[in-house]
Symmetry: C2
Subunit: 428 residues, 2 copies
């Protein structure tokens, strides 16, 4: 990381609070209170696909042959192992991405997998996580039955689909990757699909407008993202066109699958700077860093790389842990980045790559411990005893997020929302 | 070329005319007339930078030390050699691109090179050529004195500059590459310049709107182009954003410098198809094909390739001739392409590359003869004797463009403007 990333992180991510504690309308003077952080404002995210069977009680019923959530690695595992991985997940992350790939969510027209996804979203919400749905429109893993329709029909069912999901999940999922990879969508030529057809027909910007309008109408308070893997000027041009056209985007999603090697601080910050120009919050939506050999640099479409085995190695795990720390420190050192979602808790997900924080046998890697040391230690205020002054005040510095203060068996919560000096008053 | 490119060229580029010739109000029945093509509708273009000294009479005055037109190769040549090259140029092309690089056109603020460029534009116009100015706004070869100004001042002088040139040259130059390489403009990082500053500040689309509005206001009848070298989805996204924003573009400029090898028919047509989706005329604005060794494929910015000598070779010249034929046949086989400008008549221009139709010693290469065989023979109607029927009619098929018909010492002109069957009546 740059030598001053720690200083920038403190500048952009922490508040120095003066907390005034009152009780019965009077300052709680000269007392011992305990202040503790409850959550981060920064969204430390990860995919939660693996926990669909657990959240739906499917592992208990059929531990050896339960349906999986799309990633394939945990459906056949025993419940104890999945629960242990879930504990690791919940001990590190506060933001879950759930799968809404149309071709898997509604493989047969009219029979969407709403019930199971609702149960999973609720499972995460009950455990204090914000939940995001990914994606509502994409040319890959799109419903195959779309190709039997005319273009106006595809457009209609796409918009109906968005309204249905955003309405059905409102309150549990209020953050959506509305449309994915629009830069390539109209010229995607690997196989025929409904989304490429309508994007070529309508044009990128009119399609973006339609899908955002449909999502916004269904849930006006939702946080709606445009998401892409293309970090070139193409995505800039798309964003500028979309914003010039008056379409409201709440956050820009940047993918960062690094199967071909860690980007490094300079490239990462260069990308963030380019996309921060639009004044919108930036979410790193899909991050992967490997703990095994890297994918050769000449592979253009990552899906083209097929290997029978892709093991995690001790050297790879040390490198991954180092890169995880550098990557997260880089992201938090830039004020525009509000979220970072890791793509796959466990090895063997997409492409079979060793990209997880957890090995295939369920044990955590050094990268897990390294990120946890940041998120729950270096960047975290553990329960801390402080004595109030004669005005009932205590002072402390903490990372932005939710806090609680306790004294005499009573507890109140408060939030540090903005960096810098903060004056907060809470009544116990 | 694709096996049916010749058939497609006939379909999109020729008309089968029924020409009725009258004289004194009556059909000129049973007479011999001569029909001859005078010009192509298709714009066969080339840069005309080399002829600025010739057009300004500077070679006569100081043959050994005359100022050059920016390309550097002909200013020191003797007038006979330059005139011979001009004859070759005029015998092949009908469309000249002249240089308006701001840093060369107005190196000292307030002293633009208007007079010499006006003389050159007139020289080409008097010889029957359409003339285009290139470019009015670009971050490369921009005026260095811009960097001493504030961003609002740069914007103002850029717009003033556009209005001045477009006004001064109206009637001689009514076709302009208004802005060049906008995709990379705001993130260009090789050196500081005024255009990158204001493009980053204003955003691509607002800047495009401003420069097009200024040019349109100065010459409402002009043909105004957006031009780029980026053939990726980035340029598509830029175009879609610009069109969605309601900015009128008259033609899309696609560069095609092929220093790293001929694109081939499939890639070329794939690109044309992608950019033809917008329903706008397409101009191939900057084409180069080499008759020497190719630039290595790993060079990203062509300007980075510097070699002391880059000779034209006999094998290279045969390959270039073959590729020239294939390239022009490919372009004419697609109805959206309206112009193709070759970048440098003579070897040793940009990058010192052997990309010309003419060797450094002034002799034409096989590529020149090959293109001339298409433009003035295979795709050309030489003076042809035809006998009119009793209604004064003759029939013939010819490439779209200007024609003349003569009989009894009188001549009239007519135009074949659209492919397919055409009924034309002319009075002699």
């Amino acid at each position: 990381m740059s030598p001053d990333s720690d200083a920038l992180i403190r500048q952009y991510r922490t508040a120095t609070a003066t907390l005034t504690v009152t009780s019965g309308g009077a300052p709680l003077a000269g007392q011992e209170v305990v202040v503790a952080q409850r959550d981060h404002a920064f969204l430390f995210g990860c995919t939660g696909f693996e926990f669909i069977p657990l959240a739906n009680g499917e592992l208990t019923a059929a531990p050896e042959a339960g349906p999986d959530g799309g990633s394939g690695s945990l459906g056949e595992a025993d419940i104890t192992r999945v629960e242990r991985i879930a504990d690791l997940w919940l001990d590190l992350f506060n933001f879950a991405t759930l799968p809404f790939y149309w071709g898997r969510f509604e493989p047969e027209r009219g029979r969407p997998d709403t019930r199971r996804l609702l149960a999973t979203a609720r499972w995460f919400a009950e455990r204090g996580c914000l939940v995001k749905g990914h994606p509502l429109a994409w040319h890959t893993v799109s419903a195959e039955w779309l190709t039997e329709l005319t273009n106006p029909e595809i457009t209609q069912v796409q918009l109906d689909r968005i309204r249905r999901e955003v309405t059905d999940f409102a309150g549990l999922i209020d953050t959506w990757d509305v449309i994915n990879e629009v830069v390539i969508m109209p010229i995607f030529d690997k196989y025929d699909n409904g989304l490429t057809r309508i994007c070529r027909d309508l044009g990128r910007i009119p399609l973006v407008r339609m899908v955002f309008d449909a999502a916004r109408e269904a849930n006006p308070g939702a946080t709606l993202l445009l998401n892409d893997f293309d970090m070139s000027a193409a995505y800039e041009c798309l964003i500028e066109g979309v914003l010039e056209a008056g379409i409201r985007i709440d956050a820009l999603g940047l993918q960062s699958h690094m199967h071909q090697g860690y980007w490094g601080e300079e490239k990462t910050l260069g990308i963030v700077d380019r996309f921060a120009r639009y004044g919108l919050p930036i979410h790193f939506t899909e991050t992967t860093l490997l703990s095994g050999h890297l994918m050769p640099a000449d592979i253009v479409d990552l899906n083209d790389y097929q290997v029978p085995e892709w093991p995690s190695t001790p050297e790879g795990e040390e490198r991954q842990a180092d890169e995880i720390v550098r990557h997260y420190k880089t992201l938090l050192s830039h004020p525009s980045v509000r979220a970072s979602t890791y793509w796959g808790m466990v090895d063997g997900g997409w492409l079979g790559a060793p990209g997880g924080f957890v090995r295939a046998d369920g044990t955590p890697k050094p990268s897990y411990e390294a990120l946890r040391a940041l998120v729950r230690d270096e960047w975290w205020l553990a329960p801390t005893r402080l004595g109030t002054d004669e005005q009932g005040r205590v002072g402390f510095t903490g990372f932005l997020g939710e806090y609680e203060v306790s004294a005499g068996g009573r507890t109140a919560t408060f939030r540090l929302a903005e960096p810098g000096a903060a004056a907060v008053e809470v009544a116990l």
